[in-house]
């Protein structure tokens, strides 16, 4: 475009002002992109099991209530199942409470059929299966604590009255959940003096069309027992956790919107300053034949370029920051595999252009509309 030089020159006519505005844009868009990415990170987690045809069976009374192991045999009688696996949230930490992470007791005999999206080499899995005190550990968790295969670790329990002593036998890989630890359900039951209760059953279904019917069948089966169940699809189960966090989504969106609103106001000040400064100049441009529409377009392009550069700086800076800052460590395992995601970055870039147009619209229009005579006469 033949006016690109004009635009760039105008953009940096006051370098300090341009840089400051860009910095402000960058800071806020880094922030907004982070908030949106946190939401996206949560959603990714809740969709990790999509297409796995898994149902989660838990106590209808509440998540922290347990179910008798004898439910398993009854569930298995339902036709159309691939397998059933018991799973117990163990809630322990390593050495200090701040080293908290997801750890579970799991039935190793059925783990590989139900949770077949968790990958471990056959040799490592066999070593895990043969050691009653063996553990499978997500690779990110291995890195976090610097563990190696063969290490012996003790977990401090917060829920159950024993501290498991475990031998790391294998590394587990999963596209989203790479920071969980699994150990033997047998070890858990024995250490709890065969207490016969478990938190959850995970049911893998052959045909996803059967999932609603099977889920209803399970709940009906136990409706009038001492231990009624509530069955969710994996996605519903994960979303329950999200909704338990409260109105986080609303809060994040409100904070993001407020921040962007503030950007519009502050950018408008800068831009009206910048437009006022060059009223004479614009009058000259118009006098030599630039049309009003063209002047307006040039200014709007300049303003939105200003905010867009800020937005790009913020988003790219954020991407870089999260490459070096391990959010799993900073947030103590709360955010795993965290980075800025495409969708959030795209929203931020679009918003940064919108800020430029919204904030610059009025000053640019006023400047472009002013009559040539007035503009030339005007002493700023």
């Amino acid at each position: 475009m033949k006016f690109s030089k004009l635009i760039v020159r105008n953009l940096f006519r006051n370098k300090l002002r341009a840089v400051l505005t860009m910095l402000l844009m960058a800071a806020i868009f880094f922030f907004v992109a982070t908030l949106l990415s946190i939401l996206e990170n949560f959603t990714m987690f809740s969709e990790a099991g999509a297409g796995q045809n898994r149902l989660a069976v838990q106590s209808a009374i509440s998540l922290v209530n347990m179910l008798p192991l004898s439910h398993e045999a009854k569930i298995r009688q339902i036709p159309g199942l691939v397998d059933v696996c018991t799973l117990q949230w163990f809630g322990a930490y390593y050495k200090e409470p701040k080293n908290f992470f997801a750890n579970f007791a799991v039935d190793h005999k059925h783990m590989r059929t139900v949770f077949d999206d968790y990958r471990t080499s056959d040799a490592e899995f066999a070593a895990f299966a043969n050691d009653r005190q063996g553990a499978l550990v997500g690779y990110e968790l291995m890195q976090r604590f610097g563990w190696k295969i063969g290490d012996r670790i003790t977990l401090k329990s917060t829920i159950f009255p024993f501290n498991p002593e475990l031998n790391i036998r294998g590394v587990e890989h999963h596209p989203v959940d790479s920071s969980s630890l699994f150990f033997h359900m047998d070890y858990f039951e024995k250490s709890m003096n065969d207490f016969g209760l478990v938190g959850m059953f995970w049911v893998k279904v052959k045909d996803r069309k059967d999932m609603p019917a099977i889920s209803k069948q399970i709940d009906d089966m136990f409706r009038n027992s001492e231990y009624p169940t509530e069955t969710f699809t994996e996605k519903e189960f994960q979303l329950n956790f999200l909704s338990m966090m409260g109105d986080v989504k609303l809060l994040f969106h409100a904070v993001s919107l407020c921040s962007i609103f503030m950007l519009i106001l502050l950018a408008a000040i800068t831009m009206s300053m910048s437009a006022r400064e060059r009223i004479t100049e614009i009058a000259v441009l118009k006098a030599i034949g630039f049309e009003r529409g063209l002047v307006l377009r040039l200014m709007l392009i300049e303003f939105s370029l200003l905010t867009l550069i800020g937005g790009i700086a913020g988003v790219a800076g954020g991407k870089l920051v999260f490459r070096f800052v391990n959010m799993a460590q900073v947030t103590q395992g709360f955010l795993v595999n965290f980075t800025l995601y495409g969708q959030s970055m795209a929203i931020c870039l679009a918003a940064s252009v919108a800020v430029g147009l919204l904030a610059g619209g009025w000053p640019a229009m006023r400047a472009a509309r002013m009559s040539v005579v007035d503009g030339l006469r005007r002493v700023v």
Binding site: L24, S62, T158, E226, S243, M262, L266, M273, V330
Partner: protein, 386 residues
């Protein structure tokens, strides 16, 4: 010294720009204040819940009551220890409690969330003076009746006086509503401990709350319990227990700190931006003042004051904008107990004051560079500037 009137007049002369920066900074401060108010609410809910001289007895290693077991033998042993305050009838003030989570549908979300149900005896009310019945009546002993915190009633469906719900085979009915003045109990439902134990087939308590006669008795009872190998129990003050519960709310705390840090940075950059604009639009004016004999220092001070003043007004605007969030009640999951903890956004005097101070400080920091620029203007060149 340049009179403050000069600053105010020049702000008034640039009405629109000034107003926009005030509102802009105001929005930043308001977002920051709401975050602090959220944190304040969480902190109040945790630090005001427990009394410093009451003792909480839990299973060794348990971080929360929901995951603790104290069997009835242990209760009997501890009840007989010397040093426990007696009530009017001469009975020791010790409250055995069962804490269980029930899932209830929320008004806003039919899938519901877990709510703590606390089984108690009369002693629980004697030990927790902040819990007051505001509606209906107390539950009868050995019955399926519950009293419900006001905030739970407001957030959850079907939890008012006269409502009933089912957990497993048992039916429960709500007979009263209580208020616990912002403490953690505002997220709970209370019922009879014996009935709750039978209904949920639990023959152990979750925790014991003990009121010792004095600080010395606190220590001696604690030593006694720790020294008894049969018990395997831990003792801490009730206050400490609730403060430690904040760990389960880490997500909120991290969020608050991230947002506050960014908002302070934004406020600094915003004032800096505004001040550079003001300075550059009145170079001639400032140069004239220099020419009239005002010292650099004086100009610097005047500009800083102006910046601080704009930020102060922004802070005030922020408080006004943030006031509507005050008392909004919200809830989040406590990751230690997987139950919902309710709290209010709490914009109190301290939060407001902190907001104003942070606004002024960021105004002064942000105004520093532009003010130096203004003081250093080369007079002749600036006078020529149009």
């Amino acid at each position: 010294m340049i009179p403050l009137k000069y600053n105010i007049r020049s702000l008034a002369a640039r009405r629109v720009a000034t107003l926009m920066s005030i509102v802009g900074i105001g929005v930043v401060i308001a977002v920051m204040l709401s975050m602090m108010a959220l944190y304040n609410g969480v902190r109040k809910a945790t630090t005001t819940s427990g009394s410093k001289d009451a003792m909480m007895v839990l299973r060794e290693g348990a971080l929360a009551e929901v995951s603790s077991w104290v069997n009835k033998d242990a209760y009997r042993i501890i009840r007989a220890l010397p040093g426990i305050r007696k009530d009017a009838k001469g009975q020791p003030l010790i409250s055995p409690e069962i804490v269980i989570a029930f899932k209830l549908p929320k008004k806003a979300d039919p899938k519901g969330a877990n709510v703590i149900v606390r089984g108690v005896t009369q002693n629980a009310f004697a030990l927790r003076s902040k819990v007051r019945l505001t509606e209906g009546r107390l539950f009868r002993p050995d019955s399926n009746e519950l009293i419900v915190a006001r905030r739970i009633r407001d957030r959850f469906a079907n939890a008012g006086v006269g409502d009933t719900f089912k957990f497993g085979p048992q039916q429960w009915s709500v007979v009263g509503v209580f208020d616990a003045s912002g403490t953690a109990f505002d997220s709970e439902m209370w019922g009879d401990v014996n009935y709750l134990g039978q209904a949920r087939k639990r023959n152990a308590y979750s925790s014991l709350l003990v009121q010792p006669v004095d600080a010395a008795a606190f220590e001696s009872i604690k030593a006694e319990i720790k020294g008894d190998n049969r018990l395997k129990l831990q003792v801490k003050s009730e206050y400490q227990y609730y403060v430690e519960q904040t760990n389960g709310l880490l997500g909120i705390v991290i969020l608050v700190f991230i947002v506050t840090a960014f908002m302070i940075a934004a406020a600094i950059l915003a004032t800096m931006n505004t001040m550079f604009n003001t300075v550059s639009s009145r170079k001639r004016e400032l140069a004239t003042m220099r020419a009239l004999g005002y010292k650099r220092r004086t100009i610097l001070l005047a500009m800083m004051m102006e910046s601080g003043f704009v930020a102060f007004l922004g802070g005030v605007a922020g408080i006004i904008l943030a006031l509507p969030v005050n008392f909004i009640s919200t809830g989040t999951i406590n990751w230690q107990t997987f139950t919902e903890t309710a709290f209010n956004f709490d914009v109190d005097r301290n939060v407001a004051l902190l907001g104003i101070i942070l606004a002024i400080v960021s105004g002064i920091i942000g105004g520093l560079l532009p003010a130096i620029g203004a003081a250093r203007l080369p007079i002749t060149q600036a006078l020529r500037e149009i």
